[in-house]
């Protein structure tokens, strides 16, 4: 596969790992602890586990899995509202696959499907729009989630619905923005992140300029990173080089797709359809100002929150849940009191155990056994 296989070359990876090893041996932090690099994005977390990259890195370098998995941070109240919408007889509820398993207060969308709800998995919001066209007597709701990466596609689908006069298509908008998220991590007490791998596809949309404050105000390096293993390793190498030289800059490893100024053609539909919310609730992180968007007045007719008169409700996670601290890199997954005991992939309590890319779920079977295998 072009532009994929070349960035999975094991020989180049070996060379990079050697360089990373060298750099790590030359960096000692004042607190004499491992170097901690946060990958913000769930796609990076997935790649790191998929290619077994963690074990290939030196012992004094650790990845901290950040809150960039939009499925993981879905609050229970949002899932409850999805269920509220889906339980109307005339509704076809459409969603990306990963969201179907996230538990709300009592059940997930998958449970509601089993109970007879018309819930359909789609690959694209345009497929949801097609369902609306084919089912004029139904109200078709698309569950829009994700960071800026998925905002243009959702926005363009709404614009298309308006252009084609489709009046039975609605958006339940739960898109979130990356900058307040990263800022919330940087502002957390006990935060010990030395550098960041920036979310590659979010950066494709917004460019790299919005990350400036991380270098200017917080003096941390950030490298916008692609998703193939060589992209991640090269980005780690670039962060380490900065750390060694005492630098804090915003760099772009993913230059084949990311440009400093972002993608105007993708930003334009976002500005056309959405506006910032005052605040938005995140599972595990609480409420963060201006971290979510909603449908603006021009497209209000497509807003599911209005159509279904949804109330904003906060449903707190169980007291025992320590997802917030894990998300911010303050705790490791196995340091959470309920990790692997009351909270497992089969019966998840918190967000990070739900999605397969959640830090805790990914860690669950990995940690127990991988050391034993590697030792053999």
């Amino acid at each position: 596969m072009k532009y994929v296989d070349e960035f999975r070359d094991p020989d180049k990876a070996k060379k990079l790992l050697k360089e990373i090893d060298k750099l790590c041996s030359e960096i000692t932090l004042p607190e004499d602890r491992p170097i901690q690099i946060m990958e913000v994005c769930g796609g990076h977390t997935h790649s790191i586990f998929r290619y077994g990259l963690k074990q290939l890195l030196p012992d004094n370098l650790e990845f901290v899995h950040g809150p960039g998995c939009p499925v993981c941070v879905l609050p229970r109240s949002v899932v409850d509202n999805c269920i509220r919408i889906a339980e109307h007889d005339d509704v076809i509820f459409t969603t990306f696959g990963d969201a179907m398993r996230v538990p709300g207060s009592t059940k997930s969308l998958l449970d509601v499907k089993a109970e007879g709800g018309d819930i359909r998995m789609v690959y694209s919001p345009l497929d949801a729009l097609t369902i609306a066209q084919k089912n004029p007597d139904k109200r078709v709701v698309f569950f829009g989630l994700g960071f800026e990466t998925t905002m243009p596609s959702t926005a363009l689908s709404i614009m298309q619905a308006k252009k084609q006069g489709i009046d039975n298509f609605y958006l339940f908008c739960n898109h979130i923005t990356i900058i307040p998220t990263i800022k919330a991590v940087l502002d957390s007490p006990g935060m010990r992140i030395d550098g960041f791998l920036g979310p590659g596809h979010v950066s494709l949309i917004i460019g790299t300029q919005p990350y400036r404050f991380i270098a200017d105000d917080y003096h941390k390096p950030l490298v916008a990173a692609g998703f193939e293993p060589l992209d991640i390793l090269q980005s780690v190498w670039m962060v380490l080089k900065q750390l060694k030289n005492g630098e804090a800059k915003i760099e772009n490893q993913y230059s084949r797709l990311v440009h400093e100024e972002g993608n105007a053609s993708a930003l334009s539909p976002i500005q056309e359809v959405f506006e910032l919310r005052e605040f938005f609730e995140w599972r595990g992180l609480g409420s963060i100002n201006h971290s979510g968007v909603k449908v603006n007045d021009k497209y209000r007719a497509f807003d599911a929150e209005v159509e279904f008169d949804l109330k904003e409700v906060t449903v707190t996670d169980p007291d025992v849940c320590q997802c917030g601290e894990v998300l911010k890199g303050v705790l490791k997954p196995w340091q959470c009191k309920v990790f692997g005991k009351e909270c497992t992939p089969e019966k998840p309590l918190g967000a990070l155990m739900v999605s397969t890319e959640g830090a805790c779920s990914a860690q669950y079977s990995y940690a127990q056994n991988i050391d034993l295998i590697n030792k053999k």
Binding site: M1, P10, K14, G97, R101, S355, I373
Partner: protein
């Protein structure tokens, strides 16, 4: 097909036991399956069994869509049951066929499916000797559900068990993995992708007999169906209390199957197969078994994908392209297309 059925659909009468029922049975089922046991039309099939241990299995088939590249629900209904018998080392002999038909199913569709079942049965050398037909009201079933049960005989001395894998054994698959799951994914209209992939749906009993003819040291054999090769490996690792290591660069995956997986965020190790087996064989016989497999149509792309290693019990690890290891866990729930 008898032209009286052209354009006609299944009605409740076809399941009621009256003339419509018996005509349908005679015209479509007995006529197509065409063997001396079924033709007698008693309440049961009666036959002698050769000496040896009996193996018995059953499976139900509810796939949608009914027809897909490389197969259909009928073909699956035969291959699934034949293969479940085959991997015990049994010679499959006789199958049953239970049908639940939805009112309104076009009879031409039913006829096509039954003809495909017979063709597949002939390929396997088995006979469908008895059956049952029920009709349910429109909406109570998704067009057609099929159950097949099968009986076969295991020759003396053949002992193949999921619990028999030993450290040092090699793991072999007979061909490309994940094709059936990828075919079904790409035939789901709501995903709107199209790819040139066919299901791997095929009978494996001849392949297994060929393998057994060259080695007495095949320890485990499993048919990798739902849940894919990963699930079967986990089952063997758990049942045998061993650790299995698989090399990522040994996995045989077709280019378009890989493409479907990349677009949808799926892992080919967990995709369903319908003509793929996993064989665990003593190391010293691995090359012999592999060569024998490669001489068959079902095994021409066979390869060694890993081995049983000294490690934590019940664990399957993937040795990645970069030399790191990753746990291949049991599947929790269905593998849903991932976009993150």
């Amino acid at each position: 097909m008898n032209k009286k059925y052209k354009g006609k659909k299944i009605t409740m009468a076809h399941g009621s036991g009256g003339k419509a029922s018996s005509d349908l049975i005679a015209d479509i089922f007995v006529n197509t399956f065409n063997n001396e046991y079924l033709a007698i039309m008693e309440d049961q099939a009666r036959f002698d069994m050769p000496a040896g241990r009996l193996a018995l299995t059953t499976d139900s088939f509810v796939v949608s869509p009914l027809f897909f590249n490389g197969g259909n629900i009928g073909k699956l209904a035969i291959t699934g049951t034949v293969n479940d018998l085959a991997v015990s080392g049994a010679k499959p002999l006789y199958l049953t066929c239970g049908l639940i038909l939805e009112e309104g199913l076009p009879i031409e569709t039913l006829d096509k499916i039954i003809k495909s079942m017979q063709k597949t049965a002939e390929e396997a050398g088995v006979k469908v000797v008895c059956g049952d037909t029920k009709v349910v009201e429109r909406g109570s079933a998704d067009q057609i559900f099929i159950n097949t049960a099968g009986v076969g005989v295991i020759a003396e001395g053949v002992e193949i068990h999921s619990s028999s894998a030993c450290v040092g054994d090699k793991i072999i698959v007979n061909g490309y993995i994940g094709d059936h799951g990828a075919t079904i994914m790409q035939s789901r209209a709501e995903l709107a992708i199209s790819a040139d992939i066919d299901s791997d749906c095929q009978v494996l009993n001849h392949l297994v007999q060929k393998m057994l003819s060259v080695s007495d040291n095949i320890h485990s054999l499993r048919d990798a169906t739902r849940g894919g090769v990963a699930t079967v490996l986990n089952e063997i690792a758990t049942d045998s209390k061993v650790c299995i290591s698989v090399k990522e660069d040994s996995l045989p995956i077709r280019v378009p199957t890989r493409g479907v997986c990349e677009i949808l965020g799926l892992d080919p190790l967990y995709l369903a197969n319908e003509g793929t087996l996993v064989c665990v064989v003593k190391a010293e016989d691995a090359d012999t078994v592999l060569e024998a497999m490669k001489q068959t149509k079902e095994g021409e792309n066979a390869c060694i994908i890993g081995e049983v290693v000294d490690g934590p019990e019940g664990i399957v690890a993937l040795n990645t392209l970069f030399g790191g290891n990753k746990i291949i866990d049991k599947l929790i729930g269905d593998q849903l297309p991932r976009i993150c």
